[in-house]
Symmetry: C2
Subunit: 85 residues, 2 copies
Protein backbone atom coordinates (compact mmCIF):
# COMPACT_ATOMS: atom_id res chain seq x y z
CA UNK A 1 0.00 0.00 0.00
CA UNK A 2 1.26 3.46 -0.90
CA UNK A 3 -0.09 6.79 0.26
CA UNK A 4 -1.42 8.88 -2.65
CA UNK A 5 -2.58 12.47 -2.76
CA UNK A 6 -5.40 12.95 -5.27
CA UNK A 7 -6.79 16.39 -6.08
CA UNK A 8 -10.19 16.95 -7.65
CA UNK A 9 -11.92 19.93 -9.24
CA UNK A 10 -15.69 20.02 -8.74
CA UNK A 11 -17.40 22.71 -10.80
CA UNK A 12 -20.97 23.78 -11.56
CA UNK A 13 -22.10 22.23 -14.86
CA UNK A 14 -22.21 24.56 -17.85
CA UNK A 15 -25.75 25.77 -18.22
CA UNK A 16 -26.56 25.38 -14.53
CA UNK A 17 -27.12 28.66 -12.71
CA UNK A 18 -24.05 29.64 -10.67
CA UNK A 19 -25.34 32.33 -8.29
CA UNK A 20 -22.15 32.24 -6.20
CA UNK A 21 -20.02 32.90 -9.27
CA UNK A 22 -22.32 35.73 -10.36
CA UNK A 23 -22.18 37.31 -6.90
CA UNK A 24 -18.38 37.12 -6.80
CA UNK A 25 -18.13 38.57 -10.31
CA UNK A 26 -20.36 41.49 -9.33
CA UNK A 27 -18.36 42.11 -6.16
CA UNK A 28 -15.08 42.12 -8.09
CA UNK A 29 -16.41 44.68 -10.59
CA UNK A 30 -17.67 46.84 -7.71
CA UNK A 31 -14.16 46.73 -6.24
CA UNK A 32 -12.82 48.18 -9.49
CA UNK A 33 -11.80 45.07 -11.44
CA UNK A 34 -13.60 46.26 -14.55
CA UNK A 35 -12.15 43.57 -16.83
CA UNK A 36 -13.94 40.71 -15.08
CA UNK A 37 -16.36 39.00 -17.48
CA UNK A 38 -17.38 35.81 -15.73
CA UNK A 39 -16.59 33.90 -12.53
CA UNK A 40 -17.23 30.27 -11.65
CA UNK A 41 -16.83 28.99 -8.11
CA UNK A 42 -16.27 25.31 -7.49
CA UNK A 43 -14.56 23.15 -4.90
CA UNK A 44 -11.01 21.85 -4.76
CA UNK A 45 -10.77 18.64 -2.74
CA UNK A 46 -7.53 16.88 -1.84
CA UNK A 47 -7.90 13.27 -0.69
CA UNK A 48 -4.92 11.50 0.88
CA UNK A 49 -5.53 7.77 0.79
CA UNK A 50 -3.72 4.43 0.82
CA UNK A 51 -4.05 2.41 -2.37
CA UNK A 52 -2.27 -0.38 -4.24
CA UNK A 53 -1.46 1.69 -7.31
CA UNK A 54 -1.88 5.11 -8.82
CA UNK A 55 -4.74 3.80 -10.97
CA UNK A 56 -6.47 2.29 -7.91
CA UNK A 57 -6.18 5.63 -6.09
CA UNK A 58 -7.68 7.43 -9.09
CA UNK A 59 -10.54 4.92 -9.33
CA UNK A 60 -11.26 5.15 -5.59
CA UNK A 61 -11.49 8.93 -5.69
CA UNK A 62 -13.75 8.83 -8.76
CA UNK A 63 -16.11 6.61 -6.80
CA UNK A 64 -15.91 9.00 -3.80
CA UNK A 65 -16.94 11.85 -6.10
CA UNK A 66 -19.86 9.88 -7.50
CA UNK A 67 -21.08 8.82 -4.06
CA UNK A 68 -20.41 11.84 -1.86
CA UNK A 69 -18.15 14.65 -3.02
CA UNK A 70 -20.00 15.89 -6.11
CA UNK A 71 -23.69 16.32 -6.89
CA UNK A 72 -23.97 14.76 -10.35
CA UNK A 73 -27.18 16.62 -11.15
CA UNK A 74 -25.54 20.04 -11.06
CA UNK A 75 -21.79 19.45 -10.84
CA UNK A 76 -18.97 17.95 -12.89
CA UNK A 77 -15.82 16.55 -11.37
CA UNK A 78 -12.38 16.01 -12.80
CA UNK A 79 -9.36 14.35 -11.19
CA UNK A 80 -6.67 17.03 -11.46
CA UNK A 81 -3.54 15.32 -10.10
CA UNK A 82 -2.50 11.99 -8.53
CA UNK A 83 0.86 11.80 -6.78
CA UNK A 84 2.54 9.31 -4.46
CA UNK A 85 3.58 10.81 -1.14
CA UNK B 1 -7.23 43.35 -24.77
CA UNK B 2 -7.46 39.57 -24.74
CA UNK B 3 -9.85 37.41 -22.76
CA UNK B 4 -8.00 35.17 -20.28
CA UNK B 5 -9.26 32.33 -18.13
CA UNK B 6 -7.40 32.15 -14.82
CA UNK B 7 -7.99 29.33 -12.35
CA UNK B 8 -7.08 29.56 -8.68
CA UNK B 9 -6.82 27.05 -5.84
CA UNK B 10 -7.73 28.41 -2.42
CA UNK B 11 -6.92 26.02 0.41
CA UNK B 12 -6.97 26.09 4.22
CA UNK B 13 -3.48 26.88 5.53
CA UNK B 14 -1.53 23.96 6.95
CA UNK B 15 -1.97 24.00 10.68
CA UNK B 16 -5.35 25.73 10.53
CA UNK B 17 -8.26 23.54 11.61
CA UNK B 18 -10.17 22.19 8.60
CA UNK B 19 -13.46 20.94 10.08
CA UNK B 20 -15.05 20.52 6.64
CA UNK B 21 -12.18 18.30 5.50
CA UNK B 22 -12.41 16.25 8.70
CA UNK B 23 -16.17 15.80 8.29
CA UNK B 24 -15.78 14.69 4.66
CA UNK B 25 -12.98 12.27 5.62
CA UNK B 26 -15.16 10.75 8.35
CA UNK B 27 -18.11 10.43 5.97
CA UNK B 28 -15.96 8.70 3.33
CA UNK B 29 -14.66 6.15 5.86
CA UNK B 30 -18.23 5.53 7.05
CA UNK B 31 -19.19 4.84 3.41
CA UNK B 32 -16.51 2.13 3.30
CA UNK B 33 -13.50 3.97 1.85
CA UNK B 34 -11.21 2.62 4.56
CA UNK B 35 -7.99 3.84 2.91
CA UNK B 36 -8.83 7.53 3.37
CA UNK B 37 -6.26 9.19 5.64
CA UNK B 38 -6.90 12.91 5.28
CA UNK B 39 -9.12 15.25 3.30
CA UNK B 40 -8.75 18.97 2.65
CA UNK B 41 -11.57 21.01 1.13
CA UNK B 42 -10.80 24.28 -0.60
CA UNK B 43 -12.28 26.36 -3.39
CA UNK B 44 -11.58 26.33 -7.11
CA UNK B 45 -12.31 29.69 -8.71
CA UNK B 46 -12.19 30.40 -12.44
CA UNK B 47 -12.05 34.07 -13.40
CA UNK B 48 -12.58 35.08 -17.03
CA UNK B 49 -11.27 38.58 -17.54
CA UNK B 50 -9.93 40.92 -20.20
CA UNK B 51 -6.28 41.93 -19.78
CA UNK B 52 -3.39 43.25 -21.86
CA UNK B 53 -1.16 40.21 -21.33
CA UNK B 54 -0.99 36.87 -19.60
CA UNK B 55 1.16 38.41 -16.87
CA UNK B 56 -1.34 41.24 -16.36
CA UNK B 57 -4.18 38.70 -16.06
CA UNK B 58 -2.18 36.73 -13.48
CA UNK B 59 -1.37 39.90 -11.49
CA UNK B 60 -5.02 41.05 -11.57
CA UNK B 61 -6.28 37.74 -10.23
CA UNK B 62 -3.62 37.70 -7.50
CA UNK B 63 -4.94 41.08 -6.37
CA UNK B 64 -8.53 39.76 -6.50
CA UNK B 65 -7.48 36.90 -4.22
CA UNK B 66 -5.82 39.26 -1.77
CA UNK B 67 -8.79 41.64 -1.70
CA UNK B 68 -11.80 39.34 -1.91
CA UNK B 69 -11.46 35.72 -2.93
CA UNK B 70 -9.21 34.36 -0.18
CA UNK B 71 -9.02 35.04 3.55
CA UNK B 72 -5.28 35.50 4.10
CA UNK B 73 -5.52 34.73 7.81
CA UNK B 74 -6.63 31.15 7.27
CA UNK B 75 -6.22 30.43 3.54
CA UNK B 76 -3.49 30.18 0.94
CA UNK B 77 -4.09 30.77 -2.74
CA UNK B 78 -2.20 29.66 -5.80
CA UNK B 79 -2.80 30.56 -9.45
CA UNK B 80 -3.20 27.15 -11.12
CA UNK B 81 -3.52 27.99 -14.82
CA UNK B 82 -3.71 31.05 -17.09
CA UNK B 83 -4.90 30.57 -20.66
CA UNK B 84 -6.03 32.87 -23.45
CA UNK B 85 -9.54 32.15 -24.69
Amino acid sequence: MTRYSVSVHITPRRGVLDPQGQAVGGALRTLGFAGVRDVHVGRYVIVEADADSEQAARDDVSRMCERLLANPVIEDFEIATVSAK
